[in-house]
Each structure stands twice: as structure tokens, then as C-alpha cells.
């Protein structure tokens, strides 16, 4: 598939361009004896060509479930109950198994969290890369091997390591090898789910630099998922913040960092002790996320929110409070339903 290479605006992403992928009102439930867990409950966003879209949130907020739904690799008891995932005009959720096999890896590939667990321990990394290539393309063995060597060089591993087994590589090199496999078919979108979480900070920095360089050289888009907001602000063009199965804020990365609108985003920002400046006592966010079997009727963050007020018993709309900056919070008039406005008037 061809990637539209339109002129970029100042932020490095063609804001007006047609999105590469669009996720609309996605709902995923995990069936449990206590009732369905609404892990993803109405998520809408798009990713533009060449853009890094960051998806942040705490464990259990549904960010990895979104990634797995896009690739349709969710396993029972998870079920997609609603929504559309539009890629190149096709709804991924309607695809047959054959279509999915074509689509996966060629159009969207994925880098999983733990490189140690996602490589086969009894196969050389060269074999694992050629495997990925030949599963999708008819290519003679020697050519596939050449391509594998090229991919290793691209991600910063000496081609001589092609016959190494995963245990002979360090954690950072294994993660590079996993990225090489994801690059194998040159897909326009790569999903990276916590790709550096298991690594030390120095190695993490090296991998992040490599990812950033590859993105510039090859021009693919990334859906980058992590709980580490400071990492995300560094690499992303736009960031979506998820809480309890929903996106609560979505904006340009720098704007989100400098002027967060949602109290949850604010709380996340003040959860990272800074390395510079005066020592300020931080508070984090007291409390814990709601039970998604019985989510609260109104705003899901209300119980932990320091700025909770009357209308928060009703659900806020995910609306544009500033140009290109969407938020779901009653503090902003754009998010208020008629019901919420009434609640404010009554007080």
C-alpha cells in the first residue's frame, strides 16, 4: 500500500491529510463470571501518515486492548462489541481470516513489551526474520537472508549476529531484533506496546533514538503505548490519555505537556518527580481506578478528581475545547451535555 507523502506542517505531521487509520467508537469487553468487564468503552481516534501517536494510561486502562483490537489478535474471553477500525477504506473488524493474514504485518506490525518472551529461543534471529518475510511474501531463501541482514543493520545490530540465538544477545539487542522483525515488510503503521519498559534507562534511551531515526528515514506511523508520560512527550506528535477504558484527553504532545486540560492528565504530570528545580512536594493521584464491571454512571475519574463538582454525575462529552485539543471533562463548556448544564444551573 502506498503512503501519501504530502507536505508536512510545522509539527511534522500533515494535519489535513487523510488519516492512515481511524478507530471509531471501539468497545471491547472481557467476559467474566461477575459480568462483562468494559475494558475499552467507546474509543475514537485516528493516526496520520508519518505520525507518532502516543497512547498513555495506567495498567488496566485498556491501552493494550486497543492495540490488540486493531490487529484483531484479542483472545477469548475478549470480544469486540462495537466500533469500526478503518484502514485504507476497509474495516478491519469485518475482515475474513484470509484478509487478516494479508493485512497483519504487511500493513500493521507490532512490537510487544517483553523482547525476551516474543522471540523464539531455539531459532536464530536470522531465521526468525526470514520467517516473518516468507510468511507474507514469496521470496527465495538467499534473498530473504540478504533482507534480514539489511534489517539488522538498519536497527543497529552487526550483520554478523544473524546466526545468534536470542540468549546470546543482550536485552537491548533482543529488542532491536524484535523491531527488525516488525520492519520486515516495511509496514506503514507499527504498534509499539511498552517497547522499552523492561530495559534499563541507558538502553531505553538508545532504543528510543533508534526508533526515532527509523521513523524519520522510513516514514512509517507509530502507535506508541506506554505508562511513562515523560517518554511519550519526547517521541510523540500527538498524545491520547486513557482512563478506565476511555480517552479523556487528546492533543498535540507539547500542548498536552504544557497545558493539560483534564484533571487526570494534570495528576499524571505531577506524578513524576522532576530532575531540576526546587523540591516540591507532589501528591500523585490518591485512590484507584473504578471497577469496570460496574463503571460509575458519570465521569469515571470523578471519585479521584480534586476538581469534582455538580455535573460530574453525568458523562462528559469528548469534545474539542481548543482547536485540535479534545477533552472529556465538565470543567470545559464544550464537554457539557444539556443534563450537565442543568446540574450547574441548579447550584
Amino acid at each position: 500500500m502506498a503512503i501519501a507523502t504530502e507536505t508536512s506542517n510545522s509539527q511534522g505531521t500533515p494535519a489535513g491529510a487523510a488519516p492512515l487509520i481511524r478507530i471509531e467508537d471501539l468497545k471491547v469487553q472481557y467476559l467474566s463470571p461477575r459480568g462483562p468487564v468494559r475494558a475499552v468503552d467507546g474509543v475514537t481516534f485516528d493516526i496520520r501518515p508519518g505520525e507518532v501517536m502516543g497512547l498513555a494510561g495506567e495498567s488496566g486502562c485498556g491501552k493494550s486492548t486497543v492495540a490488540q483490537a486493531i490487529l484483531r489478535i484479542l483472545q477469548p474471553p475478549a470480544v469486540i462489541t462495537n466500533g469500526r477500525v478503518l484502514f485504507d477504506g476497509n474495516d478491519i473488524l469485518d475482515m475474513s481470516d484470509d484478509q487478516l493474514n494479508e493485512f497483519r504485518w504487511r500493513d500493521v506490525s507490532m512490537v510487544f513489551q517483553s523482547a525476551m518472551n516474543s522471540l523464539n529461543p531455539v531459532m536464530t534471529i536470522g531465521d526468525q526474520i526470514t520467517d516473518a518475510i516468507q510468511a507474507h511474501q514469496r521470496m527465495p531463501g538467499r534473498k530473504a537472508l540478504e533482507r534480514a541482514e539489511e534489517l539488522l543493520r538498519i536497527v543497529g545490530i552487526e550483520a554478523a549476529r544473524i546466526d545468534s540465538y536470542p540468549h546470546q544477545l543482550s536485552g537491548g539487542m533482543r529488542q532491536r531484533a524484535v523491531i527488525a522483525i516488525a520492519l520486515a515488510l516495511n509496514p506503514p503503521l507499527m504498534i509499539m506496546d511498552e517497547p522499552t519498559t523492561a530495559l534499563d534507562v541507558v538502553v531505553q534511551k538508545e532504543i528510543m533514538s533508534t526508533i526515532s531515526r527509523l521513523k524519520q528515514e522510513l516514514g512509517f506511523s507509530i502507535l506508541f503505548i506506554t505508562h511513562d508520560l515523560s517518554l511519550l512527550v519526547e517521541i510523540s506528535d500527538r498524545i491520547a490519555i486513557m482512563y478506565a477504558g476511555q480517552i479523556v484527553e487528546l492533543a498535540n504532545a507539547r500542548e498536552l505537556f504544557e497545558q493539560p486540560l483534564h484533571p487526570y492528565t494534570n495528576g499524571l504530570m505531577s506524578s513524576f518527580p522532576p530532575l531540576t528545580g526546587d523540591r516540591v512536594k507532589l501528591s500523585g493521584i490518591p485512590g484507584s481506578p473504578p471497577d469496570l464491571v460496574h463503571p460509575p454512571a458519570g465521569c469515571r475519574f470523578a471519585a479521584r478528581c480534586p476538581r469534582r463538582f455538580e455535573p460530574c454525575g453525568s458523562e462528559p462529552l469528548f469534545a474539542e475545547a481548543k482547536p485540535g485539543h479534545r477533552v472529556a471533562c465538565h470543567l470545559y463548556p464544550e464537554s457539557r451535555t444539556p443534563q450537565a448544564q442543568e446540574a450547574i444551573r441548579e447550584h
Binding site: 495506567e58 495498567s59 543497529g156 543482550s170 536485552g171 537491548g172 534499563d200 534507562v201 541507558v202 538502553v203 531505553q204 534511551k205 538508545e206 528510543m208 533514538s209 533508534t210 526515532s212 531515526r213 524519520q216 505508562h227 511513562d228 508520560l229 515523560s230 517518554l231 512527550v233 519526547e234 517521541i235 505537556f257 495528576g267 499524571l268 505531577s270 506524578s271 513524576f272 518527580p273 522532576p274 530532575l275 526546587d278 523540591r279 516540591v280 512536594k281 507532589l282 501528591s283 500523585g284 493521584i285 490518591p286 484507584s288
Partner: protein, 351 residues
């Protein structure tokens, strides 16, 4: 609220053994590689020295495999060091209690582990988990006294209402709540020292600060000394009075926390700090200047372990590990760039 630790003018040099609850001197730990004929050993700790002042938080930072947890385990006497001394209130405990730690030492020195999901027995209630140390160490007698003490402890760590929490099982609590239970359990025996091994690494970011604040409150209100082990140097700056940096089994630098971060002297500390994500600056796409990872600890060559990665490496770095150079009253470093002194590796924090 802004706390400036530099206030207070001239630093008073701490009196040995009276202001330090624990002193670690030249601690060494070697693990045999295995195999009957294999004489090789993993040098997990080499010549590790530092001191833990009373009612202060001292952080140990470094990458995985640098020896942070081994240090904590040696202090808790979960593993026996190969060499060196551990002074507790001036007593050489490895010599006085050679076989295993006495009950009173185990009472005074408590450990909190990284994984709050693995450190609580899933088959028992929280009440049971906290009652056990109370009974074993005879800290409360009689049902109602024990019950009362359990609830006070839960209240201390911020789990309210305590009666309700006590009757729950671990699976009913979040990670942050479980880690608070682990602290309550350690507190049950009135410890003087807490060894906290990555206590917030597995917790969600929004609740980490709460647990860090709890440690600081226990330091201030209960006078507990903490050894805080972490790979997150920003959190060390946030709660630790003093921060020490470990690399490949060696202690390479130590200072008052803000000074360490504002003026790192060791090239490894500088590398560590440059790798911390910085949203203010944005990611630079040039590949990091220093490549490579922590070296093998099996029979390492002499010299500074960081030499193979160090951008400032000199011939003498390959030959011997430098001694301790004092840069000022509360900052020391072991690096040939700063000379090769004979100083003491204590930060001598301003009182």
C-alpha cells in the same frame, strides 16, 4: 512547599558510629559460577562501602545487575557476604552473630520487596499477614491488643478504614494498597532500618508518589532510616537525603541527592542522568554517545568497571580501581579523573 536541603550553612561532620545506624565497609560478595571444577565466580559486590545516617533516606541507584539488591540482601542477612564488615550501631554483626542474625537484629532491620503481588500470601487476610510478626516478635499480647495494633498500623500507612482493610484478601487490594500492607507488616516490629528494594517500580505512576511520601513520613515521624533502592534517579532526588550510584558491583559516587544530580562527577552518573527522559528538552535523535551495556561480572579484569564504556578513559583506568576522592564535605567519587584519594565514602550530610 519547597524544601532546600542546602540550608543550614556549614556542614557538621557526622560523628562516627553515633549518627550512623549502619556502616558498610568493604563489602564483597562472590557467587560461584557452578560446576565442580569451575573456579570462576560472579563478583556481585566488590569493595562496597557506605553509611546509613539515623533517620535519613539513602538511595542506591544503578542499572539491573549493578548489585543494588545484593547489597540490601546482605544487610538483611538473607545472603552471607564473602568479605567486609557490617556495623549496626557500631557492632560488627557479621562477627558477633556469624551463623545467622539474632532475633533482635531481624526485628530492627526490615525489608520491603519490589513485588507486592508476590510478597503477600494470597490465602490469608491482611489481618493475618500483619498479626504474624506481632506474635513472633511478641510485640502485642492478647487478642484485643493485637487487633488494635493491626488497625493502628494500617492507619499509619494510610489504609482506611483499617477494620475493613484488615478483613480483605490480597487479591481485593490494588498494587499500591498491597505495598502499603507490606510497609505495615514491616512496621509491626518497630524497625530502626528499612531496606526498600524497588518498592514502587511495579506500581502505577499515579500511586508511586503516595508510597514515596509514606516513606518520607515514616522517616520523619518514626525516625526510621531507609535504604531506598531504585533505578529511577528522579525518585531518589525526590525522597533521598543522600544518593549513591552503583555500577557493576561497585559504588562509584555518592553525594547529597541534589548535588549528585546537579553536579555529577563520575562519567557513569553523567551517562545515567543524560538517559532520563526529559520532556522539556525533547528527544535528540543522535544515537547516544556511549554504547554498550554492563560488563560480565565473572572474574572481571582489574581497573574501573566503567572503563570499556567511558568516554574519558585513560591508561590508568585499566590498571586499578581508584580510591575515594572527596570533592567536598558531602560529595565523593571513585574516578581517576578526580584523582585517587584515600577518603571515606560518606556524604556527611548537613545536619
Amino acid at each position: 512547599m519547597s524544601i532546600d536541603r542546602h540550608q543550614g550553612g556549614t556542614a557538621t561532620v557526622a560523628q562516627r558510629s553515633t549518627d550512623f545506624v549502619m556502616e558498610v565497609q568493604h563489602l564483597t560478595k562472590r557467587f560461584p559460577v557452578g560446576g565442580v571444577l569451575d573456579k570462576r565466580a560472579v563478583h556481585a559486590l566488590q569493595d562496597v562501602s557506605f553509611s546509613l545516617p539515623r533517620a535519613k533516606i539513602v538511595a542506591l541507584v544503578g542499572e539491573s545487575g549493578s548489585g543494588k539488591s545484593t547489597t540490601a540482601r546482605a544487610l538483611a542477612r538473607l545472603i552471607e557476604p564473602t568479605g567486609g564488615r557490617i556495623l549496626y550501631n557500631g557492632r560488627d554483626i557479621l562477627r558477633e552473630e556469624p551463623r545467622s542474625a539474632s532475633l533482635s537484629y531481624r526485628e530492627d532491620v526490615q525489608m520491603v520487596f519490589q513485588d507486592p503481588f508476590g510478597s503477600l500470601n494470597p490465602a490469608h487476610t491482611i489481618r493475618h499477614a500483619i498479626e504474624r510478626p506481632l506474635r513472633i516478635h511478641r510485640k502485642a499480647k492478647g487478642r484485643s491488643a493485637i487487633r488494635e495494633r493491626v488497625e493502628t498500623l494500617l492507619e499509619t500507612v494510610g489504609l482506611t478504614p483499617p477494620g475493613e482493610t484488615a478483613s480483605k484478601y490480597p487479591y481485593q487490594l490494588s498494587g499500591g494498597q498491597r505495598q502499603r500492607v507490606a510497609f505495615a507488616r514491616a512496621l509491626a516490629v518497630d524497625p530502626k532500618v528499612m531496606l526498600a528494594d524497588e518498592p514502587v517500580s511495579m506500581l502505577d505512576v499515579s500511586i508511586r508518589i503516595g508510597v514515596l511520601n509514606l516513606m518520607e513520613r515514616l522517616k520523619e515521624e518514626n525516625g526510621i532510616s531507609f535504604l531506598y533502592i531504585t533505578h529511577d534517579i528522579a525518585s531518589a532526588r525526590y525522597i533521598a537525603d543522600e544518593t549513591n550510584v552503583m555500577y557493576a558491583g561497585r559504588m562509584v559516587e555518592g553525594a547529597e541527592s541534589r548535588e549528585l544530580i546537579d553536579e555529577p562527577a563520575h562519567p557513569y552518573t553523567q551517562l545515567l542522568l543524560s538517559a532520563v527522559p526529559n520532556p522539556h528538552a525533547g528527544l535528540r535523535t543522535d544515537e547516544a554517545t556511549t554504547r554498550g551495556e554492563i560488563p560480565s561480572l565473572i572474574d572481571p579484569p582489574p581497573g574501573c568497571p566503567f572503563a570499556p564504556r567511558c568516554p574519558h578513559v585513560m591508561p590508568e583506568c585499566q590498571e586499578a580501581m581508584p580510591g575515594v576522592t572527596r570533592l567536598n564535605a558531602h560529595h565523593w567519587v571513585r574516578c581517576h579523573l578526580h584523582g585517587s584519594g584515600q577518603g571515606e565514602p560518606t556524604a556527611n550530610l548537613p545536619v
